[in-house]
């Protein structure tokens, strides 16, 4: 009797899991399939196309109207630099805030917390005017600058993780004559690999996904990031460009998704550590 119950329970669980999995995967599969479908329209009679084509991928990179390759390279460049600078600024400042007790520390943490509560768009107009004054509009440098400048504010996760690393480790290294910088490089960084991976990954992918600020700053088509390009592509004529858009989605999403799945272990650790510690 008991065994039969558990069989029923298990099959019910599996059924739910399968339904959920279909829901989770369906949009992605649909987009991948659409990207191989001939013609441009969103509407199609069948889920599986009768013939498959690589035209849209080809058009993305060779077409004159949408210079996808250029956008891709732009985004990659901005994302890499943003990632490097953000991680650098974030870890350095959070190391200081986690390990040292100095005057003004409490104030700084409180200010960080308060600044995080303002809607981020509030600062947009001012940043726009500053960039205008500095003659930096429509440049990638401006994007990297603004993305990295605010990075330290998102560092609570890193600080939370640093806090969990026992202080006795760095104290003993200090006694052995290591400088603060050596302690940071040789002890803290290697021990905080999960959180560094997490932060690096999120700041890298953040650039791929942000189109609000990018659209505000980048004006000429040659300077677009993929986010701006894709938005323009789909926002103008939904039904006639859809397959092209789908192909673009696939090309953007595949590397990032693989990166995420590949670094899954770090992701879970980073997310949990950060969230639990606030």
């Amino acid at each position: 009797m008991r065994k039969r119950n558990s069989v029923i329970r298990l099959s019910f669980s599996y059924l739910t899991l399968i339904i959920l999995a279909v829901c989770a995967l369906y949009p992605s599969i649909w987009v991948v399939v659409s990207s191989f479908r001939p013609g441009g329209s969103l509407y199609s009679k069948n889920f599986w196309p009768e013939t498959w084509t690589l035209d849209h991928y080809e058009k993305l990179f060779t077409g004159t109207q949408y210079t996808f390759g250029v956008w891709y390279a732009n985004t990659f460049k901005i994302a890499i630099f943003t990632m490097i600078f953000s991680v650098l600024l974030m870890t350095l400042s959070m190391y200081a805030l986690s390990r040292f007790r100095f005057r003004g520390r409490q104030t700084m943490l409180t200010i960080m917390l308060i600044l995080g509560m303002f809607p981020s768009f509030m600062s947009m107009i001012a940043i726009y005017i500053i960039l205008l004054q500095l003659n930096l509009l429509d440049t990638h440098f401006a994007m990297i600058l603004v993305y990295s400048a605010g990075a330290a504010l998102g560092g609570f996760i890193v600080k939370g993780y640093f806090d969990t690393i026992p202080r006795s480790l760095d104290e003993s290294a200090r006694i052995d004559g290591a400088t603060h910088l050596q302690v940071f490089l040789k002890i803290m960084l290697p021990l905080s690999k999960p959180i560094l991976t997490f932060v690096a990954l999120t700041s890298f992918t953040g650039v791929w996904g942000d189109f609000i600020f990018a659209r505000l700053v980048l004006r000429s088509k040659d300077n677009y990031t993929v986010a701006v390009g894709m938005y323009e592509l789909i926002a103008s004529q939904t039904n006639s460009n859809f397959t092209l858009f789908a192909a673009g989605c696939v090309i953007i999403a595949i590397p990032i998704t693989i990166l995420f799945l590949f670094l899954q272990r770090f992701l879970v650790q980073g997310l949990t550590a950060g969230a639990m510690k606030g």
Binding site: L97, Q106, A152, T238
Partner: protein, 437 residues
């Protein structure tokens, strides 16, 4: 003997670096002198103008003057540039004064060392001292400057905008001047009928949205995690990987895809409905169904994160708790009710608050799915699914009602800040100084 310390300090008050030179710290003195020279060079021509600009926001508008046959444009004051330059100059002044104070303090301390008969440290020594003892300040210098100029200053600027009449169509520089108007924007927003109707309507929907979005994702995630981790389920890792995929795809992409998926005319969802002989639903164009769609799509995006978190907690529950319960003869349902659930809820409760605050400002889902639509006639520049943030965004970039959007930003801040303070006081983490320690 207090001779040296007083002279050094006084000299440093008179001119940065002079006290250091008096203390025979040549390199340091020269560095301070350079800072001083640069500061004066920057500040002197600007400071008076900055204060005038901040107080008056400009006095003359641009006008056309007849020159011979044609007309010539005489540039007037640009209130917004004046305001921004004013803030920047004041911030630079503050940084300058801070360095000034440090310089006087340093001269005094080294003078004291001389009074006490100790030698003053050489430059290399002070450099070492500074990088060891004041190490955190060195580490924080660049991030702080970045945050100061690209976060704090813009926010200050926006807060000030809320107290001006900077809005289309009558007060847009350079054609017109902008003036300080005190709390007028807030009064309009809360009391003038056309604005207040939109504001309260959107506030109501924002709160409903934040509650629903948070609760559905949170419990959805916990349920999925429990299901995957429950006894007898095989291929746990595979299931987990499948359920992470929505989180791994960049949000911009998945939202734009969803928008097409739910397209009422051509989208596949309605096509399936038609296949089963049902009428399609106006997923994104009907006020009620648009809200439902948004919540569902948000679940699709948000559940993976909650699931990962819940899984992390589940593996951290000590096994001996379950063993003890088994010894006492607890059924699996009892174990779940007495151990698993309380543990999960307790460990993940702080996330609820951050997610709630995040959902109030959840711009992407709304903007990319419906763009605030479908439009609602009685609203001022907003549609029926607009949140306060998306309204703020549109007011800024589309309608140029800068003062109103700044006022809304401040109100959003007040809402989020009070929720956070209220909950931090109640959660244990605040007392255990997790957050601010």
């Amino acid at each position: 003997m207090k001779r040296h310390r007083n002279i050094a300090a006084l000299l440093s008050v008179a001119l940065q670096g002079l006290g250091q030179l008096y203390n025979r710290q040549w390199l340091k003195g020269i560095i301070f002198l350079c800072v001083h020279a640069f500061g004066l060079y920057y500040l002197v021509p600007r400071l008076g103008n900055a204060i005038w600009g901040l107080v008056t926001l400009g006095e003359t508008t641009q006008k056309f003057v007849r020159v011979g046959k044609g007309t010539q444009l005489i540039k007037g004051d640009h209130s917004i540039f004046l305001m921004l330059e004013g803030i920047i100059t004041i911030l630079v002044l503050l940084v300058f004064l801070l360095i000034y104070a440090l310089n006087v303090y340093d001269a005094y301390q080294n003078g004291k060392k001389r009074d006490e008969g100790k030698g003053v440290p050489k430059f290399a020594d002070s450099w070492n001292h500074a990088t060891v003892k004041h190490f955190p300040y060195f580490m924080l210098f660049i991030p702080v400057i970045g945050v100061l100029f690209f976060t704090i200053m813009p926010i200050l600027f926006s807060i000030m905008l809320a107290f001006t009449n900077y809005s289309a169509p009558n007060n847009i520089p350079p054609a017109n001047l902008v003036d300080w108007v005190g709390f007028q924007s807030f009064i309009d927003l809360l009391q003038m009928k056309s604005w207040s109707k939109t504001f309260y309507g959107l506030l109501f929907w924002t709160i409903i949205w934040a509650v629903l979005a948070t609760v559905t994702c949170y419990f959805g995630g916990i349920l999925v995690a429990l299901l995957v981790e429950s006894k007898g389920i095989r291929f746990k890792k595979l299931w987990r990987t499948i359920f992470i995929i929505p989180y791994a795809i960049p949000q911009l992409i998945s939202l734009l895809v969803m928008r097409n998926l739910f397209n009422a005319k051509f989208g596949p969802i309605n096509q399936y409905f038609a296949y089963f002989g049902l009428d399609g639903l106006p997923w994104l164009t009907d006020p009620f169904w648009a809200k439902v769609t948004l919540i569902v799509v948000n679940m699709w995006i948000g559940i993976p994160v909650s699931m990962l978190l819940a899984m992390g907690v589940l593996t951290a529950i000590p096994r001996d708790l379950y063993e003890a319960a088994e010894v006492d003869g607890a059924t699996s349902f009892q174990k779940f009710k007495i151990i698993t659930m309380p543990y999960l809820l307790f460990a993940t409760a702080p996330i609820l608050i951050t997610q709630f605050a995040g959902n109030i400002n959840n711009f992407n889902v709304i903007y990319l799915m419906t763009g605030g639509g479908p439009p609602k006639g009685e609203y001022q520049f907003a549609g029926s699914t607009d949140l306060l943030v998306t309204w703020l965004f549109n007011l800024t970039l589309v309608n140029n009602k800068y003062n109103m959007s700044a006022a809304i930003g401040i109100l959003i801040f007040i809402i989020i800040a009070s929720i956070s303070i209220f909950s931090f006081r109640r959660t244990k983490s605040f007392k255990e100084e997790d957050m601010l320690s």
